[in-house]
């Protein structure tokens, strides 16, 4: 019985990791850019929500709604002013720039908010739970998982049912030919990073309401996100969700065996998948 509970909790935790990962997956799918500051941007969004909650007395969901366009703007500007200038065949410049940004963000947050760990208050939601047969599910983890599915659906719709998504895919295939269609690749990339930052805001909402956070936890979130993306297969949104769930389940099962093994178990699951399916579970036909 305890194992069913463990696995269900793991699946729900996987929803959070999928939310971390979807933004990374989106950006990589369109411009082959891996943003090493992705985890730190999640933490930045969590602080932004926290500030809006404390300053304006808003509920966390309202605050996230307000934070989303701000984060979109930050992502858009980051891409326009910095990242577009280093995109190219050489992977070194974007990696080093986003690595520098990661260190910069962590320390700026530390300067602004101190190293103390904080939490976004979510009132009665924090403790509410639903009983489902033998297992009791927290309302917050359930909401997280539902959001992960909704975000995946929304991105899927954006990619395959809208003109913007078509332009995303076309630019990802061949930016030069896309420009002959009147597409400005730089503008497309900026929109994509903006949208990724909206997903990051949703991830931050749940990161900040479910547990404590501090300025230094970004890199670990980046690693979970990265593992989910690779497990799922590069550029596959549903695969990313599945990857998040696998990391989540591995972690809760590991923790059930020995609490010190939680994080390690997630990494080991990733390495095992990498060993047996190097291209992930749902690889794209072409790359």
């Amino acid at each position: 019985m305890i194992w069913i509970d463990t696995i269900v909790q793991g699946i729900l935790l996987g929803g959070l990791y999928a939310l971390f990962a979807l933004g990374l997956s989106l950006v990589f799918g369109i411009m082959r850019l891996v943003n090493l500051a992705h985890g730190d941007l999640i933490v930045l969004a969590a602080y932004l929500i926290l500030v809006l909650v404390t300053l304006l007395g808003l509920g966390p969901f309202m605050a996230a709604l307000l934070a989303a366009p701000i984060m979109f703007g930050i992502g858009w500007a980051l891409q326009r002013l910095v990242l577009n200038r280093v995109l190219g065949p050489d992977i070194l410049p974007p990696l080093l720039v986003t690595f520098g940004l990661s260190v910069l963000l962590q320390n700026a947050l530390q300067e602004a908010f101190s190293a103390d760990s904080r939490r976004i208050p979510a009132g009665w939601l924090e403790t509410s739970s639903v009983s489902l047969g033998p297992v009791s599910l927290g309302l917050m983890p359930l909401l997280t998982f539902a959001s992960a599915i909704l975000v995946t659906l929304a991105l899927q719709w954006l990619f395959y049912r809208t003109a913007l998504g078509r332009a995303f895919r076309a630019t990802s295939d061949d930016p030069t030919t896309a420009s002959l269609m009147g597409v400005k690749p730089e503008a497309i990339f900026a929109k994509a990073t903006g949208i990724a930052m909206v997903v990051v805001t949703i991830a931050a909402l749940y990161l900040g309401t479910r547990a404590n956070f501090d300025p230094t936890i970004g890199p670990a979130r980046l690693i979970y996100a990265f593992e989910a993306v690779i497990i799922g297969g590069l550029g596959s949104l549903w695969g990313t969700l599945a990857g998040g769930v696998i990391i989540g389940v591995a972690q809760t099962v590991g923790a059930q065996i020995n609490p010190e093994w939680q994080i390690l178990a997630g990494h080991v699951a990733f390495l095992v998948v990498l060993l047996v399916r190097p291209r992930g579970l749902f690889p794209r036909a072409f790359d």
């Binding site: 082959r32 200038r85 070194l92 720039v97 962590q106 530390q110 390495l271």
Partner: protein, 360 residues
């Protein structure tokens, strides 16, 4: 044209002067403990070990195109093997350095096996995951203190090869003698690293590596085996990084998983040193480590501001001057202290002609 009237050379006037200056500096550095204060010795130790780490990371990323963010795995693992060897098997720490290098080399085999399945940026995070796995595993190793870490046993510290000789020769206490010994070891390691990297880059293999960095397709078409080159570079860098890591913690005397596997200390700082100094050159990390040390000395009291400035500086260099400080210097002056490109030179020295394979 008589063939014999030309020779292929890599020497430049500046490189010969540089070699002379380097020899003088080396003699002064060896003699440093006879007149310098203990804090200067410690500073020099820090500079030399960071320089060694930077040279190896530069070999990986700047020449091999392997951008690793997981070199702390080898720093930490090497250091832990030195501590483990001393505590469990009574291995002398100086011999433990070699053990550390070999252990890091062994660890590098499975690491490369996994990480080479990932490409480009994903390789970077892949190495980071491996470093995390090693850190979390070592934290389970109770004999070396688990998650809280441990100190080097007093016997191992004070009876280490060479310490007693230095104590009597310099008439210093054993802690100071240890600093002098580790400083000399760091100096030897740095010289061996720079010399080794320079030698390697001038060999056929090294030129192939440079060709690979500049154009994978072209290099392949002339028969450069890129997979094999990646393995060689990765294993060599792991070996050297492991020794450097062990040396750093030997001097420190204390170890813990968080300090030994710190991504900031052993990878972020190293990356900034290489990027700010100039990636893909031997001179770059040397310039970078001096700038880094100066910044740290000036800004150490400002904590996170210091790291913010370092991050911003790294970004600015990549955006506006990807060749780093050394790139600016060598563009302006044409100076090359470690010339790698071969040039055709008339034996009578009247005429010089640069050969095609010169790289920017």
């Amino acid at each position: 044209m008589a063939r014999s009237s030309y020779k292929v050379t890599t020497r430049t006037g500046a490189s010969q002067i540089a070699a002379l200056v380097a020899a003088v500096l080396l003699v002064a550095a060896i003699a440093l403990p006879t007149f310098a204060s203990r804090s200067l010795i410690q500073d020099m130790f820090f500079i030399l070990t960071m320089l060694t780490l930077a040279q190896f990371w530069n070999l990986l990323a700047g020449y091999g195109g392997l951008v690793s963010v997981g070199q702390q795995a080898f720093v930490g693992f090497g250091a832990y093997m030195l501590f483990g060897g001393a505590i469990l098997w009574g291995v002398d720490p100086v011999a433990g350095l070699l053990l550390a290098g070999v252990a890091a080399l062994v660890l590098a085999v499975p690491t490369a096996f996994f990480a080479f399945r990932l490409h480009g940026a994903y390789f970077a995070i892949g190495t980071w995951v491996v470093a995390e796995v090693v850190r979390l595993s070592v934290a389970q190793w109770k004999a070396v203190g688990g998650g809280t870490g441990t100190s080097l046993p007093r016997d191992a510290r004070d009876l280490m090869w060479g310490v007693q000789w230095i104590e009597s020769a310099f008439e210093v206490r054993s802690s100071e003698a240890r600093d002098i010994l580790t400083y000399w070891l760091a100096l030897a390691l740095t010289v061996a690293t720079i010399g080794g990297v320079y030698w390697f880059l001038r060999t056929k293999r090294g030129l192939a590596l440079a060709a690979l960095r500049d154009n994978v397709e072209a290099a392949r078409s002339v028969g450069v085996d890129s997979e094999r080159m990646k393995w060689i570079v990765f294993l060599v860098a792991a070996f050297g990084t492991g020794i450097a890591g062990a040396l750093i913690f030997l001097q420190n005397g204390r170890i813990s998983p968080d300090s030994a596997f710190s991504v900031i200390d052993w990878t972020a700082f190293v990356i900034f040193i290489v990027v700010i100094g100039g990636i893909g050159t031997i001179e770059g990390p040397i310039v970078g480590v001096l700038v880094f040390f100066a910044l740290q000395t000036l800004l150490a009291d400002y904590g996170s501001w210091y790291l913010m400035i370092l991050g911003a500086l790294g970004i600015a260099v990549m955006l506006f001057s990807p060749g780093g400080l050394w790139g600016i210097i060598s563009d302006r002056t044409g100076l090359r202290l470690f010339p790698i490109q071969r040039r055709l030179e008339r034996r009578d020295g009247l005429q010089q002609k640069e050969v095609e394979e010169e790289r920017p």
